[in-house]
Structure formats: structure tokens, C-alpha cells
């Protein structure tokens, strides 16, 4: 099994430790993982702002970079969903379709593809899980509260294998944090209020860490926490699952 590691641009630049944890976590499972150095971005910042036509070249680059792998794994629900829903290049339709079908978000890859049963990880803290919307409602990483359907959660399933961790419950367990990509800038007031409310829910339940499958949401919450001078930290789920030191 030849795995291509897709590290989204903002993780590459701002949160390299998340990329490292993802890589180490996958390698610990005995997997053959390669990080192709010419990757950039899934194109979502442009597309979600209405400029999908500006993603042509980055899409071509994505296809060129990842076409040959058996699986592509990415530590972001949002970027994975974007590739699944929107990767398109006119004269490379077949390759694009293949990629759309073989790209996985990290927790769904660990749960559904390699069927991970145990982890040697320990994280003795109170942790709030932020359900990022694209992973939740787009990739169905967990059951959303809108549907009348049986509950499940791939991220929680994995976190339950971590020693010492205490997952807190929230009043609104899957409300959006308000990041929304360029929404965070163009609708600043609402974006910040949503983030403040999300942070408050975690703080009210004594979270020491807020985790999730999307560092972008966590970056937004981190900005708010730090402005409030809160000691609470954000941490990507890969870092917890890889925490065995």
C-alpha cells in the first residue's frame, strides 16, 4: 500500500507539528508513506470565495502530484472534502475521479481503511472535541445532530483508545465554530462571535485542550483563546493519537 501524504498549505506553513504527528502516526502502523514535496493546496480558499475558475492550475498540480498513489491521506476534513467534491481538470477527468475516490481524511483512513484497533498513546487531560463541519456533515466522520439516525464517531472511537484522556461533553456538540475560510475575514463580526461562543462552551465544561480534525477551525479558536489570554490550548487530533512520549 503506497500512501501519499497530503499536508494542507496552512498546516505546512503554520502547524508543521501536525504534519509530523500525522506522518509518525501512519508510519507507526507500518505503512509506507511518502510526502511529495511539490504539493501546495486543494484550492478551497479560491473556490469557496466564488473563484473556482482560479483553481485550474493548482488542481493540475494536485493531480500531477498525487495520481500514482494507492491512497491519499490528509489530516484535514475540510481539504479532503474539497478534493472529493471539486477536484476537476477538463482533460484529466479519469485521474481526478480516481483521486476523489482514494483520498481519505486521517481519522476515516485509520478507522475504515486500516481498521485500527489499538494505539499506544497517552494524553491525561480534559479534552473537548470540536466537530468540524466539513468532516462531520460532508465526510460523515460522525453522526450529525440534525439527523434522526444512530450515533457514531470515528474521531471519538480513536480518542477512546488513548490512555488517560477525558473527553468532555458540550452543550452544543456540533455547532460550527465560524471559521469558514474567507468567511472569517469577510464576515468578521459573526465569525468571531461564533468562535467566542464555541470557545465558551468548551471552557464552561473545563476543557484543557480543544481538539479536532481540522486545524483551520482550531486556528480560529486559538486566535480567540489567545486574545482572551486563556491557558486552554488547541491541538490537532493527530498529535493526541501520536502522543506516546
Amino acid at each position: 500500500m503506497n500512501i501519499g501524504l497530503f499536508i494542507p498549505c496552512y498546516i505546512d506553513q503554520l502547524y508543521p507539528q501536525v504534519g509530523i504527528a500525522t506522518l509518525e502516526l501512519l508510519e507507526k502502523q507500518g505503512l509506507n508513506v511518502t510526502y511529495p514535496a511539490n504539493q501546495t493546496c486543494c484550492g478551497q480558499p479560491m473556490a469557496n470565495s466564488g473563484f473556482e475558475h482560479y483553481t485550474h492550475t493548482s488542481n493540475k498540480n494536485f493531480i500531477r502530484t498525487f495520481a500514482d498513489f494507492d491512497y491519499i491521506v490528509c489530516p484535514s476534513g475540510s481539504c479532503t472534502l474539497h478534493v472529493k467534491e471539486h477536484l476537476y481538470v477538463a482533460n484529466r477527468k479519469a485521474q481526478a475521479t480516481q483521486i476523489r475516490n482514494k483520498i481519505y481524511e486521517l481519522t476515516e483512513f485509520l478507522t475504515d481503511v486500516i481498521n485500527l484497533k489499538a494505539l499506544n498513546a497517552s494524553f491525561p487531560y480534559k479534552v473537548g472535541l470540536h466537530q468540524s463541519c466539513h468532516g462531520l456533515r460532508g465526510l460523515h466522520l460522525a453522526q450529525m445532530s440534525e439527523l434522526v439516525a444512530a450515533p457514531f464517531s470515528k474521531p471519538e472511537h480513536l480518542l477512546s483508545m488513548v490512555k488517560g484522556i477525558e473527553l468532555i461533553s458540550l452543550d452544543r456538540h456540533d455547532e460550527c465554530c465560524g471559521f469558514g475560510g474567507t468567511f472569517s475575514i469577510f464576515e468578521e463580526a459573526v465569525s468571531v462571535k461564533m468562535g467566542q461562543d464555541r470557545v465558551a462552551d468548551h471552557l464552561n465544561h473545563q476543557a484543557e485542550y480543544i481538539t479536532g480534525v481540522d486545524m483551520s477551525c482550531l486556528m480560529h479558536l486559538q486566535g480567540i483563546l489567545n486574545r482572551q489570554k486563556s491557558p486552554v490550548k488547541v491541538i490537532h487530533i493527530a498529535e493526541i493519537l501520536n502522543a506516546d512520549k
Partner: protein, 458 residues
Amino acid sequence: MIKTGNTHSELADKFNRDKKRVEWHDETLWFVRVKRDKAALQIPVWEQLREAASQIKNNVLGNLHNYLVQFEKNAQANGIRIHWAADAKEHNEIVHAIIKKHAINHIIKSKSMLTEECGLNEYLENQGIEVIDTDLGERIVQLAHESPSHIVLPCIHWKKEEIGQLFHQHLGTPHGNADPQFLTAAARTHLREHFLKGRVAITGVNFAVAETGEFVVCTNEGNADLGVQLADVHIACMGIEKIIPQRKHLGVFLRLLARSATGQPITTYSSHFQKPRAGQEMHMVLVDNGRSKRLASDDFRNALKCIRCGACFNTCPVYRRSGGHSYHTAIAGPIGSILAPGFDLKKNSDLPFASTLCGSCTNVCPVKIDIHQQLFKWRQAVVKEGHVDLSKKVVLKFTGFVLSHPLIYKLSGTLGRWVLRNLPVITNTRLNTWYKQREMPPAPKQSFNSWYKQNKRV
């Protein structure tokens, strides 16, 4: 472009200056969302019901012409007079002509979002006709010279103390009395006078049944019934998409409508109107107003499935924290944000962006409209038609360029991080929108890419 000061983000920014009020607004609507969840959970086949409703509506949209013709034939046989209106203007003129024929200058109306869409109140008032909205919430916003901020809960943005003050001014209730029961009784007395002298009553329509030529109006207050039963003339105004094939299909929609809207099992009144009483005139105005055009669009057609329950409003974290009026359109919220661009893309070019694309709306929708996917598609349409700020265009073109070239991307990233680390004076200013209420993200010395090169020796 929209006039400065009137975009959703600017109006939402104003709304957010009163933090306590935003929190109250959010909690109030979230309470309704939770009620909806509880009601839905009582129905084990809820998801199958949604699917059935969606399929029935798909069938309707695929055969709309035939159902409308069938409805017209059956309704006429029942004695209902059918009128067709191509747009809002024609709709208003038809309604006005009926009123004029009866030489009446005072009419009563029970809530109809279609007449809001068509601007009927304003039109009739300009013709010297007084329009009294008889739904309590609608009457409140009418007294305040406002439009509804929510399609089901039109005055949800008003606190009871403010309503007490409004009633004190307009209905003469004692100053400082904000007791909901007392105020409702005062409104009831006030409205009763209007019911008794209302010769023409206008209602909306929730469902029109092609098979029987009847239509159904769902209310909680019973005011639609009171109005039309006392009036000599009943005018029902309906968008052409409200048709359903058979009466039995109400068994699907009536179960979904009130549960989705307010968490009630059913509205207090689900009134069927099939024929006029002896001596009464019953009219129905069937309105297109852009619906045929939308029907022809693969991307946006299925917004016509909407049954106006408002569930997408209550669940929307953006709506809850920006208020209905920030959408500057008759129908606010997520559904309004995909309907309004169809009427006027330029004027509503901001609305598809008033969303994080969280997808909650799509998943509470009882008829499964892919609302957040349509928001994405409208964004593309807005940009293609050029209704976007030049600065936004330049920034995203540049971003697209950088992200298309691995080397330029790496250099820009390194430079960006260096600036964040060494020249925070550039980034940490009020001019930086992110920084206004959030700290900047960390700026590590090494990217993952360069760590990988160093540690994996590739």
C-alpha cells in the same frame, strides 16, 4: 455592488455591537432548533419522511405544468376563481383589481410570505387601501413599520418589553406592562375589530392539491380562518411551486412542516379550502415571479421544493447571530440566501457569502434542499457576473497564482512566516481584519515541507 453599509456583513456587524442581544437572539432560536430535534426524534421514520417529501416535490417540479393545469380545472369546478400572475407587479394588480371591484379600502391579511415577496402591503397602501396583518407577530412588525425577520417567527427579534412599549404607543396598553398573556389579549381585542369589518381577506397557501382543487392553510392562531369566514371575498395568493399531486401527500408534508418549524406535532389549524361558502367569492392568484426561470436551472431548481418551515433559519449559526434584517430581503436565512440571488443577483450578491457552508441547513431541511451546495454555486455565479469587489478579486487571483506554483508557494510561505515573526507591526494592526478580535497564528521557523526534506533526506 451593493451600497456600502447595506451588505449582510455590515448589517451583521451592527447587530453584533449589542453582544447580550445577539446571545439572547441566538439562544431563542437555538431553543426552537432543539424543540425541532425532539419532535423529529419522536418519529422513527423521520429520514424516510424527508426522503418521501423530497421525492414528491421532485415529481411536482418535473410535472409542474400538468399539475397546475389539473389544479386549475378542479379548483374552477369547485367555484374558485383562478388568476395567473407572471410577476410581483401582476400579482399586486390582480389583487388590487379584486379589491377595487368591491369598492373596499380596508383589507385583512393572514401571513403570506408570497405577498411579502411581492411587496403587496406597500403597493396596496399606495393605492389608498389599508392592510391589516392579523398574525400577532406580523402585526407587531407592521405596527413598528418593519418587515418580518423570520418567515415563521416574524418578530423573533423583538423582546416582550419592547412589544409592551409598542402596544402602549399603538394600542394604548398600560405603560410598562410586558406580560405576554395580557399583550396577546390586547392584540386580540384590537384585531377583532378589524376582523369584524374586514370584507376582503387575503391568505397565503401552504399546499394546493391538484387532484381535488383544494388548498390548505396552516396557522397556529386561527386568524386565517376567522378572517376568511367573516369576509365576503377570500383571496389566496400562492407561488406555483406549492402544488402537490394528491391529498394523501399531505400525510407526509403536514407531519414534517410543524415539527421542522417549531417542534409542534402539527399546526393548531390545518384548514382545507375547497369551495366558497354561499355568497362568498373565493379567488386564487397563482404567481410565477421567477419560478419558471429557476425551474429551468439544474443548479438551483430544487430550491423550489421549499415548504417555508424556517428550520434552516433556526439551525443557521450565522442567522442566529446576525438577525433576519441583515439579509435585507423578504425571506432571510439560508433559504433566502439562495432564493434572493435568483430575483436580483447584483442586489443580493453578498448573501451567498453569509454562510460558513457548515451544511446544517441542508440536513434539517424537511424536503432535502441542498442549500449549502447552492450557496457555493451562487458564489461562483456572483463572481462570474462581476458582482465582486476588485480587492477581493485581486487577493484571490494572487492566492490562486501562488498556490499553483510550488516554488513561489514555498518562498511566499517562508517570507510570510518571517514577517509574522519579525515584523508583527505589519500584521498586528486594526487594518488586519483577523487581528481585530483574534491573535495571529504561530509562525514557526520551519515549514513541514522543509522539516521533511531535512529529516527524511529526500
